[in-house]
Subunit: 211 residues, 2 copies
DNA sequence: GTCTATACAACGATAGAC
DNA sequence: GTCTATCGTTGTATAGAC
């Protein structure tokens, strides 16, 4: 059998552990090589497993990739809460931006895989974008409009505000190569990271007139 | 001879024309498939040339890719002028953002190839980033600091302001798939594009206190 | 200068021993 | 459940006819 059902608790446990290790390694490799550039050998090495093992736990390379994308989407939906009209705009947005920055820096590879997937036309997660993400944006846009009616937020297009925040925060993961090159450092330091958060929150919140 | 020197004006003219066609096609294909996913066959088809022709004008696939990157860098350096301390911050920044937006929308594929290259760690253009782009940023940061001393700009980190502007404008090229999915449209319309420019300039300029 | 035919390498996937 | 050996495909690059 190629994809045996778990027949005992211990087998299932090994399976789960191995799959998690493979997905973690795959995320790293897909992030630096892209889907087509990624080699099963490299993923196997990164995971510390023999290559044949990968295709024992997953049917194909594409299957691994889909699982990685799935995992990323679930993490993001879970980590980024909703914003409600009852929240104070300044607090809520500051928290959202900080959470997004934090995620970009804690899982830069997830962010990069996601970015490449979208640049390539989102062949795998396109449906998610058009359904779940669209719903989420429509709801948040409604909240922004309520704030605007109350005069608590400048009159700018709500979805485009979200695009701006996403872009500004993700760039610290996706484009870290460019950022370190321009800053002339090896790695984005803790101090530089703080400057980044301050700049993004400062410009965006002042720009939206929420304070 | 594999890469013959042009022996007459007309040969040279054909050569130049063919190379330009190949580079244009390559930019399109690299943008949607990435370097590794791109196939010489697909580039040839896109260029309307026989496949063997590509490797007659360029030594290898990597050579084509390098030429595409080179072309993109030159375009960008040429199209985006400098900002001088003598300029009025509001005008100068508005013009810069508009130019950057315009470029992202006129050559989205160039933007995407550039993005993927950086996400992959900038193996080809890394030197350019650390040298030319760094110099440019250092110079512009100086201008921003002068404005800040005059009280014409909020006290935020100059390089991070540039990262923010780059991210916000490039997202309309690189992430257009996500944007159209969320907005529920086929293509970013002229009207939506105007909203995008207004939102980015509005939030950034107000956020920087230049007006 | 153009194109066909092919050499050669790399990789994903599988079969089957242990 | 693990691993080796190998198949078949695909894609870059080249040799050589026209």
């Amino acid at each position: 059998m190629k994809q045996p059902a778990a027949t005992s608790k211990s087998e299932s446990r090994i399976r789960t552990e191995r799959q998690a290790r493979i997905l973690k390694a795959a995320e790293t490799v897909f992030a630096r090589r892209g889907f087509n550039g990624a080699r099963l050998m490299e993923i196997a090495a990164e995971a510390g497993l023999p290559k044949a093992n990968l295709l024992y736990y997953f049917r194909s390379k594409e299957d691994i990739y889909r699982a990685v994308c799935q995992d990323i989407l679930e993490t993001w939906l879970g980590a980024l809460g909703d914003i409600s009209a009852a929240d104070k705009p300044d607090d809520a947005l500051r928290k959202y931006i900080e959470a997004k920055m934090d995620l970009s820096l804690k899982r830069p590879n997830a962010s990069r895989v996601f970015a490449m997937e979208i640049i390539s036309g989102a062949p795998v997660i396109g449906d998610y974008l058009a359904r779940d993400l669209k719903d989420w944006v429509d709801k948040q846009a409604g909240v922004f409009r309520i704030w605007q009616e109350r005069g608590e937020m400048a009159e700018v297009s709500p979805p485009h505000v979200l695009f701006l925040i996403w872009a500004a925060t993700q760039t610290y993961a996706d484009f870290s190569t460019q950022i370190t090159a321009v800053l002339g450092c090896e790695k984005i330091s803790r101090n530089e990271y703080k400057k980044a958060v301050d700049t993004v929150t400062g410009v965006v919140l002042r720009g939206l007139g929420t304070r």
